[in-house]
């Protein structure tokens, strides 16, 4: 009989072995994912202070790694909140350590992406990462570190403290990684363009390995309201979460426990729920058995009287900024945007923002250009599997006099405390009926606005064309008939032309 051995592996070891699920599948995907994860961390770091982000990304060539892959040095600088010095090693050298475990809308979710990038760099090049950070205090801290993969601990190779004369605040991350930039280039440039569209208040600069310089300049300093932290909604909890809450709670009875740890649960609701689930309000939550916790979770999901979660934990871009971003990056002739009211799926609040842009510099290509975003992150892969694409494909566009051969871009932004991604790679959104319905309603609204625009323009065009036809032919009729009738003076046709201008002539 074969011996089965069990061994515990660390979180970094787990991701080392399963880097595919985080999006680091190939040299070209890896370089794209690394840039994306770090840029997103930088955007979050600036936004949490409500400072318009300034992000500088430089990718430089270091040498040949193999036939398919080269070694690049990636440097990302931001003007964000900065990392307090004592947290720097863990924040960059320990997987699943991070500030993002609270419930609010953020780009990253687990504090995983940035460290995955560094981990990937380490395992492909065996070189340390270099971090500079300051929270704006008198000193800048520099760490050179690697990740001890088996123990999931940072290994500090060097540490320096610099004088911060200019009161710089922000973070710089620099490390080497293997990648295939030239294959990834179109996606990376598209990523910057779409990020600039979704973050019109950010300055993004990218210098590529050939020294080409791409700059996306902000057009506004207005920023969306940052999301508020929120407690979990009863519909969205699982057993694990209840157990954690029980562990940390200072409250000694169920009534207080429910009232203080759950979103949308006040005194009345707590009492009603306890009655509904046959739990004594004075019961000590820490004394609940495992079976009772499981039952509690089921009852929480069954109880119909919880109000839906409110959306203050969400930070949609807002119609004005969305419009500004689309105008800035797509330069269309017409744009319509719409923000839906907050909705929920499985206890998670979400908001859909939709946009449609027409004409201008949008190319005609026989199909709609589709831009998908989740929590302001552009989604660039697996378009065909995404719920937005399914909604777009199933909509009856002809109803809105819209056809795929028109120059049209459609944008869908899903904001949620928990975006229903299908994979860890965060590339496409699962087909949840609630989400699907909201996307469809949002797109219908902007499609209607585009239809109005097209109809109005068609009318103006027709009137202009009509006037052109009459102004061309009526004088000729006047000229020929004058000659034919043997008259001297041309008849006065001004009155007729005025009537065309005013009412247009009959159609039949």
């Amino acid at each position: 009989m074969a011996q089965t051995t069990f061994e515990e592996i660390s979180a970094s070891d787990f991701f080392y072995r399963n880097r595919d699920i985080a999006g680091f599948t190939s040299p070209s995907r890896a370089i794209f994912a690394a840039i994306r994860e770090l840029v997103e961390n930088s955007l979050d770091a600036a936004e949490s202070l409500k400072i318009p982000p300034d992000i500088y990304v430089r990718l430089s060539y270091e040498g040949e790694a193999s036939k398919e892959a080269q070694i690049y040095r990636l440097r990302v600088e931001d003007n964000g909140i900065g990392v307090p010095p004592r947290h720097i090693p863990s924040a960059f050298g320990q997987v699943l350590f991070g500030s993002k475990y609270k419930l609010k809308q953020q780009r990253g979710t687990f504090g995983l992406g940035g460290k995955m990038a560094i981990l990937y760099g380490q395992i492909t090049t065996h070189q340390p990462a270099c971090i500079f950070s300051s929270t704006g205090i008198a000193k800048i801290y520099m760490y050179k570190l690697m990740i001890d993969i088996q123990r999931n601990r940072p290994l500090i190779l060097d540490r320096k403290v610099l004088i911060n004369k200019e009161q710089w605040r922000g973070t710089i991350v620099e490390f080497c990684l293997e990648g295939d930039y030239f294959r990834a280039m179109p996606k990376i440039l598209e990523y910057f363009k779409q990020t600039a569209m979704m973050n019109p208040y950010a300055n993004l600069t990218f210098v590529d390995p050939k020294g080409r310089f791409y700059k996306f300049t902000r057009i506004t300093k207005e920023m969306p309201e940052p999301p508020k932290e929120t407690k979990p909604h009863p519909y969205g909890v699982d057993v694990e979460l209840i157990q954690r809450l029980i562990q940390i709670t200072p409250y000694k009875n169920m009534f207080e426990f429910l009232r203080h740890h759950f979103h949308r649960v006040g005194e009345t609701t707590a009492n009603k729920f306890l009655e509904f689930s046959n739990l004594s309000p004075s019961r000590n939550p820490k004394k609940l058995s495992h079976e009772e916790i499981v039952r509690l979770m089921h009852m929480l999901k069954k109880f119909r009287e919880f109000l839906p979660p409110d959306a203050s934990c969400l930070s949609p871009l807002g119609e004005d900024l969305l419009k500004a971003g689309i105008v800035k990056e797509l330069k269309p002739e017409f744009v319509a945007v719409h923000q839906r009211k907050p909705a929920t799926y499985a206890g998670h609040p979400f908001i859909i923002e939709g946009g449609i842009a027409y004409g201008g510099e949008i190319p005609k290509q026989g199909s709609f250009l589709i831009y998908r975003f989740a929590n302001r992150i552009p989604l660039l892969y697996d378009e065909a599997s995404d719920v937005s694409v399914k909604v777009i494909d199933s909509m009856n566009w002809r109803r809105y006099k819209i056809t795929p051969d028109m120059p049209i871009a459609i944008l869908v932004h899903v904001c949620s405390t928990k975006v229903p991604y299908k994979t860890v790679g965060k590339e496409f959104i699962a087909d949840r009926p609630e989400v699907r319905r909201e996307i469809a309603n949002g797109l219908r609204e902007v499609a209607r606005q585009l239809q109005h625009f097209l109809t109005r323009r068609e009318h103006v065009d027709r009137d202009r064309k009509r006037l052109g036809v009459f102004s061309k032919y009526l004088p000729k009729i006047a000229q020929f008939s004058t000659k034919l009738a043997g008259r001297e003076k041309l008849p006065d046709i001004e009155k007729l032309l005025r009537s065309v201008r005013k009412f247009g002539a009959e159609e039949t």
Binding site: F470, Y473, K476, A478, F480, T482, K483, L484, A505, E506
Partner: protein, 363 residues
């Protein structure tokens, strides 16, 4: 010969055409000047409005009218073209110049209202005919195709530079073109007592060579296939003004038959016009029964021929027993013969034997 009467008829007609055109101009001018979109009414030429008139023995337009109005965005360009065509025709007629349908098509291009194609420009000319009730030859626009005439008829030109000059139509052995100058001429005198119209050029030449005009005292007219409207009008004048009976010889097939019928009863296309047909003209051959009786060499009738025969059988112009009999015979024998088929009996057989027999038969 009543010369005076004929002369005045040509000049009167020109005057009527000119004043018709001028009145159209005045009407459009006055509408414009009083602030209305100009419009003209004319009989509809749609198929439902074309009826056969047994009294006139030709197709005529019914009572349905259509209005061409410059108020309508889709009509304003054709209306402009119509006004222009009227002005163009007025100029031609008053300066006594002629022009062709092709000229009309090209001349319009100088005025930035280019015709899409020849058909569009022809349609505008037809509109003008319908509005005025005169055919385009009356306002000096002629088609390209020409036919010819030969025989002892003296005519007097009315065209500029030739006024008063006369010509005897035997003066050229190839015949004289039936063109604008000839159709606007007055008939001065003739010794002929009949007109023989012939479909094909070869036979026309043979008839001249064989002195048919002398032997049978005839004016010979070459229709050159389906007779142009100018030729049909010319034949009508020979019949009406000179009281000459008209005999038509065509190929022995449904198409030849219809060439004769259009000379006799007119075409649906020209239902808006009068005085193009010659109701008393006779179709003298080649009949289906001639094919049988003269044992002519034949070709089989094909599908298209048979289909055409079916159409003709139901056509009101063909209700006469003779026509019905011939259609039935064609359908029975399923054969056709050309005029040249008589050559199997020698080159002069048609002139010496067939022609006199048929002239007698259809007298």
């Amino acid at each position: 010969m009543e010369q005076k009467k004929h002369k005045s008829s040509i000049i009167e007609r020109k005057k009527e055409v000119l004043s018709g055109l001028e009145n159209l101009g005045v009407k459009i001018y006055d509408q414009l000047d009083s602030g209305y979109f100009p419009s003209v009414d004319m009989p509809s030429r749609s198929i439902e409005n074309i009826n056969y008139d047994p009294q006139l023995r030709q197709f005529i337009l019914g009572d349905r009218k259509v209005r061409r109005s410059a108020r309508n965005i889709r009509h304003v360009k054709p209306f402009t073209q119509l006004t222009w065509a009227a002005e163009f025709s007025h100029e031609l007629t008053s300066q006594r110049k002629t022009s062709t349908l092709r000229d009309v098509y090209y001349s319009a291009q100088a005025y930035e209202m280019t015709f899409k194609d020849q058909q569009e420009s022809n349609n505008i000319v037809t509109d003008l005919e319908t509005v005025l009730g005169f055919s385009r030859e009356d306002f000096n626009i002629f088609p390209e195709e020409r036919s010819a005439v030969f025989g002892d008829l003296t005519i007097e030109y009315t065209v500029p530079g030739y006024e008063g000059k006369t010509l005897n139509l035997t003066s050229h052995p190839d015949g004289v073109l039936i063109g604008p100058a000839l159709t606007s001429s007055e008939f001065v005198k003739t010794t002929a007592d009949k007109v023989i119209a012939i479909e094909k050029g070869g036979l026309f030449t043979r008839f001249i060579e064989e002195n048919v005009h002398k032997k049978y005292n005839a004016i010979l007219v070459l229709t050159a296939g389906q007779a142009p409207r100018a030729t049909r009008h010319f034949v009508r004048r020979l019949n009406g003004e000179l009281n000459l009976p008209v005999y038509i010889f065509t190929d022995g097939d449904p198409w030849g038959m219809h060439i004769a019928m259009v000379i006799i009863s007119g075409s649906a296309n020209a239902a808006h016009l009068r005085e193009l047909n010659t109701p008393d003209a006779k179709w003298s051959g080649v009949w289906a029964t001639d094919i049988v009786n003269y044992k002519l060499p034949t070709d089989p009738l094909d599908e298209v021929d048979m289909k055409r025969l079916g159409e003709l059988q139901r056509d009101p112009r063909y209700k006469d027993p003779l026509w019905q009999r011939e259609i039935k015979t064609f359908m029975k024998i399923r054969k056709k013969a050309e005029q040249e088929a008589f050559s199997r009996y020698g080159l002069t057989y048609i002139v010496d034997e067939y022609l006199p027999a048929k002239l007698e038969e259809t007298k």
